[in-house]
Amino acid sequence: MPPSVLSSRHSVTDHLERQATDAAPGAVIITCSALLREIQALIKANGWTHLEVVTISAELHNRPERIPDAVQVLITAARRKGQLVFVAYGDCGTGGRLDALLEREGVERIPGAHCYQFYSGSEQFKQFEEAELGTFYLTDFLVRHFDRLVIRGLGLDRKPELEPLVFGHYRKLLYLAQSEDQELQQRAQAAAQRLGLSYAYHYTGSGELGRSLQRFNRQLRVGSS
């Protein structure tokens, strides 16, 4: 495992205050840096100071086959510290390999294929897909890092002639928003314009991410009582 794969900081891309959870965290959430900001907000809002959060770089989504190994390293480290573990990931393109690992380890994850699905809920997401198959989804994280992860990540800054090959079948950009932020909405609209797609907005809040963390916390309480 190359050291660059795992973030040694609590945040890879966002500048957030580190939570005071290092005293004696009894449980850990292993997650993607794309979800960190929302998880930190949920921890703060709910006072879940007993939860530690460790992240894996969102850039690993470009090499999803490496995600299970990265998660395995963090599960092993958490077990060594005697922590209970929850994995805040979808399948995220691992093709069931993450689930196979989690089944072996007896660890739960958020239900769903990817964050678009668990933020919006499976039924709602199905409706989005049926309404327009050619939909390109953004979350708060992806709006914030659109240029780095989408434009530069796909090489469109260096090779703009590739844009029709990459986005030729997309018709719509749908911003699935976790926060009600006017500036992010403007940036999402600009992203749609940049890609020549129509724009739509849907507020999801924390969706299934929030509900999954609540369930994990209830299990912790039952376990400790």
Partner: protein, 243 residues
């Protein structure tokens, strides 16, 4: 004219002045750098010098894409660069394709390929189609979001050696099993080599859905296709010999 333009003009390479071996080397570089117009120009120059379309395809384009494929596999090039190279190769193929069809060049095999229903992602599928064509296969590309009925119609119409299916999404890749199971129900599964590919797939998945092979990338797809078609044809020849 500015100084920069003068400099550019002085340095611009006239491909037609290069001898054959240097021109082919230059085309390797141009493919590597995704230079669309230059590849079309180089292809035409070689044809004008009396090269056969097959020789231009194999010695200039396919060999050049081979270098790109190796560097992609070794992590030196990434998807945007490979796409760019494939896009450049397309300009050469557009010139060669009608000539190859007219001269009745022998096809290595025939493939029907498409991205499965519910999925619109076709970058990988297009790369495979391009590389297969470059390797001498006749490729019928059905496009994206392909339902089982369309796959079956295409098999019936084109009678290919290979059916290729691609998916990028975890949610759409199980559809490959729907297609293969339908082929089994109709008793036609063993009439075709079935290859599958896509980012979230792996070898176990390929086996689980009943495919003949999982292709990690476009270069693997070409190698596997050649091998399986050769095996199948060899098997057929052996059966005839025994009979």
């Amino acid at each position: 004219m500015s100084n920069n333009e003068e400099l550019y003009d002085e340095e611009e390479l006239d491909l037609s002045t290069l001898p054959d071996d240097e021109l082919v080397e230059q085309m390797y570089d141009d493919l590597y750098n995704g230079m669309h117009a230059e590849i079309g120009e180089g292809t035409q120059i070689l044809l004008d010098r009396g090269w056969s379309a097959e020789k231009v395809l194999s010695d200039a384009l396919v060999a050049g894409m081979g270098i790109v494929g190796v560097d992609f596999r070794d992590g030196i090039l990434f998807v945007p660069e490979v796409l760019s190279a494939a896009n450049a190769m397309k300009s050469g193929m557009e010139i060669l394709r009608p000539i190859l069809a007219d001269t009745g060049a022998e096809s290595v095999g025939k493939m029907v390929i498409g991205t499965v229903k519910g999925d619109i992602h076709d970058i990988g599928k297009n790369l495979v189609a391009m590389m297969m064509e470059g390797a001498g296969f006749e490729v019928i590309d059905l496009g994206i979001n392909i339902p089982v009925e369309t796959y079956l119609e295409a098999l019936e119409t084109h009678k290919p050696d290979i059916l290729g299916m691609s998916a990028l999404l975890t949610t759409t890749m199980p559809y490959m099993k729907v297609v293969i199971d339908t082929m089994k129900e109709k008793g036609i599964r063993d009439d075709y080599i079935v290859l599958v590919g896509g980012a979230p797939l792996n070898e176990e998945f390929g086996e689980a859905v009943g495919a003949d092979g999982y292709c990690r990338d476009a270069a693997v797809a070409v190698d596997m296709a050649k091998e399986l078609v050769a095996q199948r044809r060899g098997g057929a020849i052996a059966q005839v010999a025994v009979a």
